[in-house]
């Protein structure tokens, strides 16, 4: 991506800045009662890298967990304003007009304040869904690797003498 003739490589500088930010975060977290696992810089780097990938997942990117949650209206935050009435058609249209033309202008500031907060929550939910997905992927890959390693080990490992001789055919 970068210019080969460049005297200063942005990617190199950014890698160093990321390392310093990571170390700063780790020190702060360790110093304020964070997990002891973060005493190990390598562990912290792995954790930070995984969570960072989740945090920058574009909102447009489809994720597995929302699909599994079922119909979106049963779980997704709704930020739009819906004007509804359970009354018959004539009365309903009058009530809807009142809601839209008189009540809504009065309450718009409150609606917009709430909507901004809902938007933030929706973004947070997306990041959390992405985190869970990243962890699930990591877990699946580790399980596969574990199965591969345990398969290889059982194929080459010398037998434990305490188990006795294999039964004769």
């Amino acid at each position: 991506m970068s210019d080969k003739a460049a005297a200063i490589e942005v990617d190199v500088v950014m890698a160093e800045l990321h390392r310093r930010v990571r170390e700063r975060m780790r020190t702060e977290l360790s110093g304020t009662g964070g997990s002891h696992a973060f005493d190990d810089p390598e562990i912290f780097a792995e954790v930070e890298s995984l969570l960072r990938a989740a945090a920058v997942t574009p909102e447009a990117q489809p994720l597995v967990l929302p699909e599994l949650l079922g119909e979106p209206h049963t779980w997704r935050l709704t930020t739009k304003m819906q004007y509804q009435s359970h009354r018959s058609q004539g009365a309903a249209s009058l009530i809807l007009t009142l809601k839209q033309r008189i009540l809504m202008p009065l309450f718009r500031w409150l609606f917009e304040y709430s909507r901004d907060n809902f938007e933030r929550q929706r973004r947070t939910n997306h990041v959390l869904f992405a985190c869970v997905q990243e962890l699930a992927i990591e877990s699946a890959l580790l399980r596969r690797e574990l199965r591969r390693l345990s398969g290889a080990r059982s194929a080459i490992a010398p037998r434990d003498p305490s188990l006795g001789s294999p039964p004769r055919q």
Partner: protein, 397 residues
């Protein structure tokens, strides 16, 4: 070639990015091509109120034909409809309605395209999100070139867009990131296409003195934000990040130059200048330690290119793929995603003058390679030739 350029607003006094892109290309290409700009009588992109007389004029050698907007934008209806369609699951009819409410509602322009569109070799549309492109492009799809100016905002996720994006005969993108974004939404690679932004004229090194900004009391050591000071541009986060940074670095000032659309905190190290003259603007760009671009959504940051044109490096919001991509391709600055990274990156740029200057020079070299007018125009005309060749080949089959 006989070309029509279709854009929502047009004129030397119109500040929008896509409108400026359209006008700059129209004026430069009109030397070699017969260009007619089809646009509206609106000047205000929020209300679309008619502000200019309809009809035909010639502006800097370009024929401009303006059509009246039949009704201004209904702001609250549009806001509620935006909530509805961006929430997902809205019917195609409601999404079409979104484009209608977004405006500018110019049915006469659409009728003109229907009746006269085939008299042009190519019809170039700016900005996918507006009425004139969404409803006009399908009428001349066989000869249409779309300049989507797409960003990673809510509108790009509308369900009706994959079909719309598959209609044009050609595509002109502003950055490789925008090309990727639109191709992803179209669910296929888009050809023929070209990536060509805006050209810039060279600035003579050392030609701009500090006099204009000395008169305003601007200190030597400052970071510059240039543009509308608005939450939608990421300025709220920038102000928070900067105040945190300035708490431990009291010798640096943040200068904000542009119309202010939000409250600016009282802070001894934040200077909000409001709208500034071109002379002040150029002096601010020429003498800044770095330009800061905090926006989340950009299809091309022209101000970033302008900073590099002055040899000034940039500090940009890395969550915006376009900005991060531009900075990394140019090796012309640094990026951040959260406050701690802002601190470190600002520290690096302000504390390493040699490296900072080198990044500014690398940004300028990138402009020389990619963003001088002869380069930009040859890419645009190359695309037009390709699209016309393909169009003729298909019609001769």
């Amino acid at each position: 070639m006989k070309l029509a350029f279709v854009v929502q607003r047009y004129g030397a006094d119109i500040a929008g990015g896509s409108e400026g892109h359209c006008r700059e290309l129209a004026e430069r290409l009109s030397v070699r091509h017969d260009i007619t700009v089809l646009t509206t009588c609106a000047k205000d992109y929020v209300t679309w109120e008619n502000a200019v007389s309809p009809g035909r004029t010639t502006e800097n050698g370009v024929t401009v034909r303006r059509f009246q907007v039949t009704r201004p934008r209904r702001i609250k209806v549009f806001a509620d409809l935006s909530d509805e369609v961006f929430d997902g699951g809205a019917s195609p009819d409601r999404q079409h309605e979104w484009f209608r409410e977004n405006g500018p509602d110019v049915p006469e322009l659409i009728e003109h395209l229907r009746s006269e569109g085939s008299t042009f070799d190519l019809v170039v549309f700016w900005t996918f999100r507006y009425y004139q492109s969404y409803f006009g492009l399908p009428l001349v799809a066989d000869r249409a070139v779309l300049v989507p100016t797409a960003e990673e905002d809510d509108a790009i996720n509308l369900d009706v867009l994959p079909e719309f994006f598959s209609k044009p005969a050609g595509y002109l993108f502003l950055t490789p990131e925008e090309e990727q974004l639109v191709s992803d939404r179209a669910l296929r690679p888009l050809h023929p296409s070209a990536v060509a932004g805006l050209g810039l004229e060279p600035v003579a090194p050392g030609a701009i003195s500090r006099a204009a900004i000395d008169a305003l009391g601007i200190p030597v050591k400052y970071l510059l934000y240039l543009g509308r000071v608005d939450r939608n541009k990421g300025c709220d986060a920038l102000l928070e990040n900067f105040q945190e940074y300035a708490a431990t670095h009291p010798d640096i000032t943040l200068v904000l130059a542009g119309p202010t659309k939000m409250q600016i905190p009282e802070h001894p190290r934040i200077r909000a200048l409001g709208y500034v003259s071109n002379e002040v603007r150029e002096a601010l760009l020429a003498h800044a330690r770095a330009l800061v671009v905090p926006s989340w959504y950009e299809s091309l940051s022209i101000v970033l290119l302008e900073a590099w044109n002055h040899g000034i490096p940039a500090l940009v919001n890395g969550r915006c793929k376009v900005l991060q991509g531009q900075v990394r391709r140019a090796n012309g600055g640094l990026y951040y995603m959260f406050p701690a990274e802002f601190d470190e990156a600002a520290d690096y740029l302000l504390g390493h003058p040699e490296q900072r200057d080198a990044m500014g020079r690398q940004g300028l070299a990138y402009i020389e390679r990619e963003y001088r007018w002869p380069t930009v125009l040859s890419r645009v005309e190359g695309l037009f030739d390709d699209v016309r060749y393909e169009t003729n080949r298909r019609s001769n089959k």
